[in-house]
Amino acid sequence: MSAAAATTLTHLELLEAESIHILREVASEFERPVMLYSIGKDSTVMLRLAQKAFYPAPIPFPLLHIDTGFKFREMIDFRDKMAASVGAELLVWRNEPAIAAGTNPIALDTKRCCGLLKTQALLDGLNHYGFNAAFGGARRDEEKSRAKERIYSFRDKAGQWDPKNQRPELWNLYNSRIHPGESIRVFPLSNWTEMDVWQYIYQENIPIVDLYYAKERPMYVRGETLLPIEQSFVARLGEKPQMVKSRLRSLGCSPCTGAIRSDADTLPKIIAELMGFKESERANRVIDHDQEGSMELKKREGYF
């Protein structure tokens, strides 16, 4: 390595330094920050970055999981284990009235189901605890409307996003001023790509939920689409699950998360598979395909 190379950061080192800067800014400027922990790979990377940002002090804010009641059991176990291992306080919020009323994506449509179990639960949870800054693991490369989201995403009193009226963000200066009742969502991983996240997990040896790794799992097979059997009500009349070597590319609610056929049972194999991938990671999530621009509509209403 040349002398010059020794003082040039790699892309992952740069992204890490930027994310840590953001985490420290928010924790220092907001009275009531919280980290939304969704258990997925992005959230798990964000949690590691939070450990790094405040080391050797503990993470100075709690974790909040919005539980729809449809999360895979492996996810819930992993969540509890991770929170304990990093020594962070874990809060769980569920829209209990909607869950008790039997809300599910078959009875309603996915849009209304998400609206109640995710968006409404999130807004209620943030309100309940009085959080005014919430970290999320969203990345700009995930979806077109996310590409324009600021790192500090300002939300009005109803938790809604106005894409036409965003604050300019220059250099690394973030405007943290809000009026009472307003809040921000913060995305420390804004500039990370899916590949960066996997590379970082590999490089840092970060544990992730087993569901990301391929193994023989029972699935309802509908052409190219594999549906996990966790929620039996997704089954059609007479439909029988088959054992398929498969994995999840992104973790959502079990009724709406399709699996993919895969032999990738190690991290390098997952990354190799990703490099050959032709479909973006959200292609297997049913929710984004409801209608053109559906993510933007959800976000305007308060979805992450």
Partner: protein, 548 residues
């Protein structure tokens, strides 16, 4: 590793190689019809960075001929844009090649979104300025080039687009190059260090990723080849050390670490540092990270420093190399890009955020307004949305600054409207008047630390809102605690700054229905006097428990 299949063996080699790639941030700017979105779509498409489902979603849409993909649709994200057919915001895009990773800030071309262009350019190492070959250097292109230069982007790449529509004519390319070179020369000291001209067609792909046979007269690199070869980051590791303290980490009584991102330079254990604005000095004891202690760290790493001495350092202070310190000032000259619907009001109180420090500041005068198309200096008394000018600013509390030309991080700031909370302006420091060294307390018979130890607080300016009774209770409680608390009936900003700089706790009060407090840019609703005390402790103004 013996159990891995052959294809995973190669992936590990790839991962090792990939982890050493660097990152280039670049911005794009162009007029509405210059084909900026098409160019980015082309870069993504030709570097195979687009997923099939995304391609599928744009098939048969857009304004291109049947069967030809409208690549602009890959980047035009928001519904409003699809409806209006223009790009209204900054969109960030990511792609990579075997050489490096890229972050694109795709910024709007329309004049009314000049501020978004400045936003995109603020973090860019390179800017692509697009010119329509049929139209030549328009006012719009000059505006873009000027903002790019003003924001200190070190590499500017002028992409002369739509060459296919002018018959790939060398004469057209050369004429535009001549015109643009003359314009850059007029920029004087702002002229970018490196300027490149590349003839391209985003629609056909000529010279974007791949070199083309259509223009045999052009012997230079393609646009992507240039992007892959310019230095990725500002060379800041050899600059004087700068680190703005974001947070003091105190996990236990034995550890006190100063967390921040290195803005410039390199640091090693044993190096002398000076804390600004206090000018106290110490030595670095250790560089602490989650991954172990480091023997050296450099910009832009995020680290935590511990010091040999227990000097008073808090959020908003800057740690610098003592032999080449920043200027401590309350009076500075800066270029401003006005970003708010409400025009600049002279002598009105704004919040100025510089690194991790937020202070009150006023714009005292506008030197001139810059016409960014003609580069004329026009007399002006205010700046309106998207206006650019040079102004004199006075801050209530001192700042430790550098000139923007030498440091984009410690030389920049934003102004925030304290009523609407809007980000009103972006500022680039051109010059600063040093304050007389050693506020009397620093080197006088009684030090600030001694005062703080006696009074159990540092100097601060505390703005209260709420009923009069609330302010009375707060003043009484602080006084009973032993604080040097003052609540002047009338006082100028200068007087209050001087009193708080000398160690006093200065209170002001505005009558309002709801109770709140603002200190050093922190604002919070306050339910009780106890909560206010706690707030002041959390922000390191009050020290520990009350003395009796």
């Amino acid at each position: 590793m013996a159990t891995l299949a052959p294809n995973t063996f190669s992936i590990e080699a790839y991962l090792a190689e990939d982890s050493s790639r660097d990152l280039l941030r670049f911005s794009t700017a162009g007029s509405v019809d210059d084909g900026k979105s098409t160019l980015i779509g082309r870069l993504l498409y030709d570097t195979k960075s687009v997923y099939e489902d995304n391609l599928k979603s744009i098939e048969g849409k857009g304004t291109t001929a049947p069967g030809v993909l409208d690549l602009a649709l890959l980047t035009d994200g928001l519904r409003a844009e699809r409806e209006q057919g223009i790009t209204i915001d900054v969109a960030y895009r990511y792609f990579s090649t075997e050489r490096r990773k890229f972050i694109i800030a795709d910024t709007p071309g329309h004049e009314q979104y000049t501020r978004n262009m400045a936003t995109g350019a603020s973090t860019a190492s390179l800017a692509i300025v697009l010119v329509d070959a049929r139209k030549g250097v328009l006012i719009q292109s000059r505006r873009h080039a000027c903002i790019t230069a003003l924001l200190g982007v070190p590499h500017v790449l002028v992409a002369i687009n739509k060459m296919d529509l002018v018959g790939y004519d060398e004469g057209v390319f050369e004429a535009i190059r001549r015109d643009f070179t003359a314009f850059f020369d007029e920029l004087g000291e702002l002229k970018p260090a490196n300027i490149y001209f590349v003839p391209v067609s985003a629609l056909t792909g000529d010279n974007v990723v791949h070199s083309t046979l259509a223009m045999p007269w052009y012997h230079g690199p393609s646009l992507l080849q240039l992007l892959e070869s310019v230095p990725a980051a500002d060379a800041r590791a050899d600059a004087p050390f700068r680190l703005a303290v974001q947070r003091v980490l105190r996990p236990n009584l034995d550890f006190r670490g100063f967390a921040g991102q290195i803005a410039a330079g390199t640091i090693r254990p044993g190096d002398a540092i000076m804390a600004l604005p206090s000018r106290r000095t110490s030595k670095v004891k250790s560089i602490v990270t989650f991954d172990g202690e480091l023997q050296q760290a450099y910009a832009p790493q995020s680290v935590t420093l511990t010091l040999e001495d227990e000097i008073d350092v808090s959020r908003g202070d800057i740690l610098v190399s003592p032999e080449s310190a920043s200027v401590v000032t309350t009076n500075l000259t800066a270029s401003l890009v006005w970003m708010d619907q409400n025009p600049l009001e002279l002598n009105r109180r704004y919040l100025l955020k510089h690194t991790s420090r937020t202070v009150h500041a006023q714009v005292k005068s506008v030197g001139y307004r810059l016409d960014i198309a003609t580069l004329e200096h026009q007399p002006a008394s205010t700046l309106t949305l998207n206006g650019i000018g040079v102004v004199e600013i006075e801050s209530v509390q001192p700042l430790a600054v550098d000139r923007y030309a030498s440091s984009r991080i410690t030389g920049s700031f934003v102004l925030i409207d304290p009523v609407t909370n809007a980000t009103a302006a972006a500022g680039m420091i051109r010059d600063a008047v040093p304050v007389a060294t050693g506020l009397r307390s620093a080197s006088g018979p009684v030090s600030l630390e001694e005062r703080a130890n006696r009074w159990r607080h540092s100097g601060a300016y505390v703005e209260l809102s709420g009923p009069v009774a609330f302010a009375d209770d707060v003043e009484r409680a602080l006084f009973v605690r032993g604080a040097a608390v003052l609540r002047p009936d009338t006082a100028s900003a200068e007087t209050m700054a001087a009193m708080s700089a000398a160690g006093a706790l200065v209170l002001t009060h505005t009558v309002a229905e709801t109770q709140s407090v603002t200190v050093a840019g922190h604002h919070a609703a306050i339910a009780s006097v106890d909560e206010l005390i706690k707030f002041l402790e959390v922000h390191d103004i009050l020290i520990g428990d009350s003395i009796h």
